[in-house]
């Protein structure tokens, strides 16, 4: 029986509790769907106007904007109950290590009352009808999925209870559920699986349901290990390069000596094609593709190619030229008021790579009338549409499968590698399994661009009067569709207007959590054609690091302890609470030897709050500890991360994200950067790009997940990076007595011998047995 919106017919258990709408779908076994819009805002709020007036981040942040973007869509997301008693759900988000599949399985287990190991999550193919709902970024996944997935699961459980009640001739209210079994006090029981068919609907009807109160949660809020952990530790988890698609043979590309360079001539394509194991050679947009029996033979083949190149899009640029352009483009600061004192500082942040450990890869099978793609894609719809245009095929003839990724950190917002695989497959007329080489990933892959942040704060009589921050960055590309989402959604928002997408994103993600009087933060961009993109936490790591260093300076100028100063000026009680907890757990102020110091960083974003307190050892015996081909330098010896995630759904997963964010922050502060020289990064491997290693990571890490503070989960995948970066920077400043102004600290030293630029991929070593242990 169909139910009408706003007139629920099921017995109202609690008339004050909001009901959520969904559909029983016509299907062989019980299947439930919810529309995104109804579920995100609830039945009563679905038609509510876009909140206004939009304000900077603390009122309305990036994740909210993404939720709004979801409103107009009509695609259903659904939970299915199978005859074997399991439930399945095709997730329209991408798992790249952040634990989204585990969090969603918990939501389903909770509302469906089913053991979590009976919940199967797969990743949905590109579904154009979902529009921008199918974007994994901005730490928005858990926030926007929380209500729809629970609604679908609750509807499924309700339908199972109704079915059992009808079969047993008892009131629905007397049917209970526990771990996938329905029961009545008369002793009757039935498994979900046994009723999966009977509970199915033969037509699609609208129904409504109330959700469990947070206080009744049995699964959500409790620590849960990852659902894919067993597959991972046994080597069974399949990443893109592990998939076996018939005849999709290995393929790699010889690349130019400058970013986005192009091929002028290839002198020996036929000779390379005749090399052992090589099947095809083809010139493509940014290089020469080689397909063969093994990736090893592809490397040999691409190295043997004799190619002349046209210069790339930034051929003349190096670190110094980019920096000079950034400084020229800085927006002016307002002069200090008469009589006020000021703190002025300028910080430079080098290019950084978001390179995941799994090199970019994609499988493409392009035929004359259709194409099939497999890749890790966070915006699969965008990929599908672009690749269809590129291949000259209708979009519905391009099937795009989303594969779990070995990390992302923003890289998979773009589909460069999938588009390239499609191009190669079309040109060769054969399926290919394309992998970028490690060196390609660093030298030609997306980067977080160099930026400069200038800050001026003025103070008078113990008060801060103004805080101005002028951030100027080499352009960050948002061409992956986030921009499209914002045009479509935010066109009616006053903040859109004259601002570019980047400025909109900047304003939506940045806010100063202190009462510093007149506060302005502005972004300017220099349009250089590097391959850029959002890296974990986008602008925040740089902006927040600069801010927290200036906060320390202000505290010193006003003669206050940095913690006491922050407590006094903080606007946000949740931040004050995480600060207090970090101070207690991290033992702020404990006695440390000379050359070792503590530092603090605070950040609020994605409706969450985090404080990081670290200790950095800058004594010469530590800085100069020997590690072969590694960068040692100052060491973070102890770290405390305290997070208020609003409503923590999986404290164990949150803890993992905090540890990951901490290690990213340490890398950005101390060791990891790209050196641009003559149009290309010099870095070519992990012994050049110094992401945190075991010898850099703190041996003592403490993470505290605060009890729930709001009714809603906040974003968690990125938030710790900015606070950790700031904490390490402030600790370093205190340990050395000098405020650092250029990051990472190690950037001014080139700590490695760069690989030659050509051939673009180095040969694999042959002496691997010598390092066996």
């Amino acid at each position: 029986m169909a139910e009408q919106r706003r007139s629920p017919q099921a017995p109202p258990e609690d008339p004050t509790r909001r009901r959520f709408l969904g559909y029983l779908l016509a299907a062989p076994t019980l299947a439930v769907g919810v529309t995104w819009a109804d579920a995100v805002f609830g039945a009563d709020e679905a038609e509510a106007a876009i909140p206004s007036p939009p304000q900077p981040e603390n009122l309305f942040d990036l994740g909210d904007l993404q939720n709004l973007a979801a409103l107009p869509t009509s695609g259903l997301i659904g939970v299915q109950v199978n005859e074997d008693g399991t439930a399945s759900f095709a997730l329209h988000r991408t798992e790249v290590g952040q634990g989204i599949t585990t969090a969603v399985a918990m939501m389903i287990a909770e509302e469906l009352d089913l053991p979590i190991d009976k919940v199967h999550i797969t990743l949905a193919d590109a579904r154009p009808e979902l529009l921008m709902n199918q974007l994994t970024g901005g730490s928005n996944s858990v926030r926007s999925i929380f209500t729809p997935v629970r609604t679908a699961s609750a509807l499924a459980r309700q339908q199972l209870r109704r079915t059992a009640a009808a079969q047993w001739g008892v009131p629905e209210g007397e049917v209970t559920t526990n771990d996938g079994v329905l029961a009545h006090r008369s002793g009757r029981t039935a498994t979900y699986g046994s009723l999966a068919k009977a509970a199915a609907s033969d037509r699609t009807v609208q129904v409504s349901v109330t959700l469990k109160a947070v206080t009744d949660f049995k699964v959500l809020g409790k620590p849960q290990n990852r659902i894919d952990a067993h597959d991972i530790v046994t080597g069974r988890k399949r990443f893109g390069l592990d998939l076996q698609v018939p005849d999709a043979k290995p393929c790699m590309v010889r690349r130019p000596p400058t970013i986005n360079g192009t091929v002028r001539t290839v002198r020996n394509a036929a000779a390379v094609k005749a090399m052992p194991g090589i099947t095809d050679v083809a010139v493509v947009k940014y290089g020469v593709a080689v397909r063969g029996e093994t990736f090893g033979q592809c490397i040999d083949g691409l190295r043997a190619l004799d190619v002349d190149w046209n210069p790339g899009t930034v051929a003349g640029e190096s670190d110094a030229t980019v920096l000079a352009k950034l400084k020229q483009a800085q927006l002016p600061l307002v002069a200090p008021a008469l009589g006020a004192l000021s703190v002025d500082a300028e910080f430079t942040f080098a290019f950084a790579s978001n390179a995941p450990l799994e090199p970019d890869n994609a499988i493409a099978d392009v035929r004359s009338d259709r194409a099939e793609i497999w890749s890790t894609l966070k915006v699969p719809i965008d990929a599908k549409q672009d690749i269809a245009v590129q291949l000259g095929l209708p979009a519905d003839k391009v099937v795009v499968h989303v594969v779990p990724g070995g990390g992302s950190f923003g890289r998979h917002l773009f589909h460069d590698v999938a588009a390239e695989a499609a191009e190669i497959s079309q040109k060769m007329g054969k399926p290919v399994k394309l992998s970028w080489t490690r060196t390609d990933d660093f030298r030609q892959g997306r980067t977080h661009p160099m930026c400069v942040s200038r800050v001026r704060a003025t103070h008078l009589l113990g008060n801060v009067l103004t805080y101005e921050q002028r951030h100027v960055s080499s352009e960050t590309s948002f061409s992956h569709g986030l921009g499209e989402m914002i045009t479509s959604t935010a066109a009616s928002l006053p903040i859109a207007g004259n601002y570019s997408f980047a400025q909109t994103i900047f304003l939506l993600t940045q806010s100063v959590p202190y009462d510093f009087g007149v506060t302005t933060q502005l972004l300017n961009e220099v349009p250089l054609r590097f391959n850029t993109g959002s890296m974990r936490n986008i602008y925040s790591p740089n902006v927040v690091c600069a801010r927290e260093l200036v906060v320390d300076r202000l505290a010193a100028k006003l003669g206050k302890d940095p913690i006491a100063f922050r407590r006094e000026f903080l606007k946000d009680d949740r931040l004050r609470a995480v600060l207090d907890e970090a101070v207690a757990v991290g033992q702020w102020g404990r006695a440390l030897p000379k050359g070792v110091a503590q530092g603090i960083g605070l950040h609020t974003e994605y409706r969450g709050a985090v404080a990081v307190l670290v200790e950095v050892d800058c004594r010469p015996e530590t800085v100069n500890r020997p590690i072969r081909d590694g960068v040692t330098g100052p060491r973070v010896t102890r770290a405390t991360v305290v997070v208020d995630a609003g409503l923590p759904l999986n404290p164990r997963g949150l803890d993992a994200q905090m540890i990951g964010g901490l290690n990213d922050g340490i890398a950005l502060a101390l060791t990891s950067s790209l050196h641009i020289k003559d149009g290309i990064p010099l870095e070519g491997s992990w012994d050049n790009y110094f992401y945190t290693r075991q010898w850099n990571t703190p041996p003592d890490v403490r993470v505290v997940v605060m009890p729930p503070t709001t009714g809603n989960p906040s974003g968690a995948g990125e938030i710790a990076v900015a606070a950790a970066f700031a904490a390490v920077a402030t600790a370093y400043g205190r340990a050395t007595g000098t405020m650092p102004t250029s990051f990472p600290i190690n950037h001014s030293t080139l700590s490695f011998e760069p690989f030659p630029l050509q051939p673009s991929t180095p040969a694999s070593p042959t002496d691997g047995l010598d390092t066996a242990f």
Partner: protein, 158 residues
């Protein structure tokens, strides 16, 4: 093309492939054993770490011709069988500590950890923080502290 024979996860295998193809590609592309991951091909990231006669090594940097007929290669897939169980104690520790994030580095991390603990035990000593600092395996998701905890736990049961 040359034939190459060796013992892989307890079974004798023979492949036909050119001498200089690195073992990683023989395992992954020819034999379909995908537990060892490609992260660099340069003996740097260590995500391909496997065992040769019980010692950790990186097959991305060893030509197949250097593998002898009697050499026993163990990948993550064959690790549990070396102790005659469904899971090696190190894998169990990894599950208990919920070490993994994306998981890409983890087969290599576990294989390196097992070798490190065996080496320390052979030297008659416990794993130290200095030993852990010396592990070169990259984890780009930054799971390092859980790896350290898991190794100590796994070591106690090996």
């Amino acid at each position: 093309m040359a034939q190459h024979t060796f013992v892989l996860n307890g079974a004798r295998v023979t492949v036909e492939v050119a001498d200089d193809v690195r073992l990683l590609w023989v395992l992954r592309d020819i034999l379909g054993v995908t537990g060892p991951k490609y992260g660099c091909g340069l003996n740097v990231c260590k995500s391909c770490t496997s065992h040769i006669n019980g010692k950790a090594f990186n097959p991305c940097s060893v030509p197949v011709s250097k593998i002898k007929e009697t050499d026993e290669i163990t990948t993550i897939e064959g690790l549990p069988a070396t102790v005659g169980r469904d899971l090696h104690p190190m894998q169990e520790a990894w599950l208990e500590e919920d070490v993994s994030q994306c998981g890409y580095c983890q087969p290599g991390q576990i294989m390196a950890a097992v070798a490190l603990v065996r080496k320390a035990k052979a030297e008659g000593r416990q794993i130290t923080d200095a030993d852990l600092d010396g592990l070169r395996n990259i984890c780009r998701c930054g799971t390092y502290s859980r790896i350290r905890t898991a190794i100590k736990k796994g070591a106690a049961r090996m």
